[in-house]
Symmetry: C2
Subunit: 241 residues, 2 copies
């Protein structure tokens, strides 16, 4: 059983790299910025982060690097299952609270508006995520719809589309990873923890570091539960979803 | 000399596929949707389109498929130079007219707003494109700044950012391709022909098919001029830009 974990930022991945004693290995090639961490004990784990833009000292967050990272990692490691974990914004009015962890049921985009027949639905994504019953049952999480976009903020046009999708969490990579996972017919699980409230921004910055700590801690707890299921061979992944 | 041509849509690529007698060859793998057309005469030409989403019968336009296409094509074919050609929206108030062909000098994004230090500049892109003097001199084109985003329309927040960049053409793939080309230190040329006016939408649909025909025709003419320069060995590409 080989598990691929895709994470955008090093800071999001660091607790897992430490917890799982992952060791960095050689990158995909000399050009791509992604960094690869592995531990070949059972279960066999590969964690890939998107890397850092040296010019701006900014991690390669967003959909393009995530899509490239997913394609390259699937081709190189041929995993049995893909996990994308990370922090997200949440919508309080649709039930999210800071620190919540969400298991994503469906992943949309909110910034790919293409008002032409066929293209409108293509642009919106709306990919269904694998709901592996053993995982859904073992986790102490909420379930909900994710919307992905390349901006950290949300403009009125974005909020309108996210409301239409009934999105409860907002991130910058998820849908892009599900797109690639679906192309390769790989099961994919998205776990997103809420660090801030998109619809009540005034509640965000009172104690942001505490929020981040809480969200990261809860995310790691849920992730370790998934890992335990794999370690105990309690999950059978259907390889031809 | 190997030339890689990256095009989003089949309809944009079709005139070139016919003109250059390109033959379709096997794809990158069984999962990715990109289609590859080749002709190994001199100059050696590879043209890759992003493919079609069968569920929605929509071509994979936008930055994610373009980035994956660019990475895969560069790794497989190791081209000496990359051309991205296609249609675009133009800004009349900044000098664009329908049918104009632009040689892109710099490629920004207008839909990656990340208001954090370092990340703001990362999100905006602003990659410089290779200005090969022989090409710039031989073409009968305007030069200008491109802005890329995943939506066909432009919301007020997009228009504001495009104005800040002084963008004269708007597309859905260019910056993403320059990003990848820069990672692999490959020279990249973007040629964009104007089919519609972003700032005067009421002037667009009077005779859209004629506009498209004019823009495509002008684009092919300029592309063939570039090809002739390569055929006559009039261009020396510096491989370590």
């Amino acid at each position: 059983m080989k598990i691929l974990i895709l994470v955008a930022m090093y800071q999001e991945a660091k607790p897992l790299v430490n917890e799982l004693s992952l060791k960095e290995t050689e990158p995909f090639d000399d050009a791509l910025p992604m960094r690869i961490f592995i531990n070949h004990e059972k279960p066999d784990i590969v964690l890939v982060i998107s890397g850092t833009d040296p010019k701006h000292n900014a991690d390669y967050i967003g959909t393009q690097a995530a899509a490239v990272s997913a394609v390259m990692a699937i081709k190189k490691f041929n995993p049995d299952i893909i996990l994308n974990i990370g922090t997200a914004g949440g919508f309080k009015d649709r039930g999210a609270q800071i620190g919540d962890v969400y298991l994503v049921t469906q992943a949309f985009y909110h910034d790919r508006r293409i008002p032409l027949p066929g293209y409108d639905a293509y642009g919106m994504g709306g990919y269904h995520c694998e709901m592996i019953p053993e995982i859904a049952g073992a986790l102490n999480v909420k379930k909900g719809i994710l919307s992905t976009g390349d901006s950290l903020d949300a403009q009125p046009c974005d909020l309108e589309i996210m409301a239409k999708h009934n999105a409860v969490v907002k991130d910058m990579e998820g849908a892009s990873i599900v797109w690639v996972a679906n192309l390769y017919k790989k099961p994919v699980i998205l776990l997103k923890s809420v660090t801030d409230l998109v619809d009540y921004p005034e509640e965000n910055y009172q104690d942001f570091l505490n929020n981040l700590h809480l969200a990261s801690h809860n995310l790691k707890d849920q992730f370790l539960k998934i890992l335990q299921l794999f370690t105990e061979n309690k999950i059978v992944v259907n390889k031809t979803i």
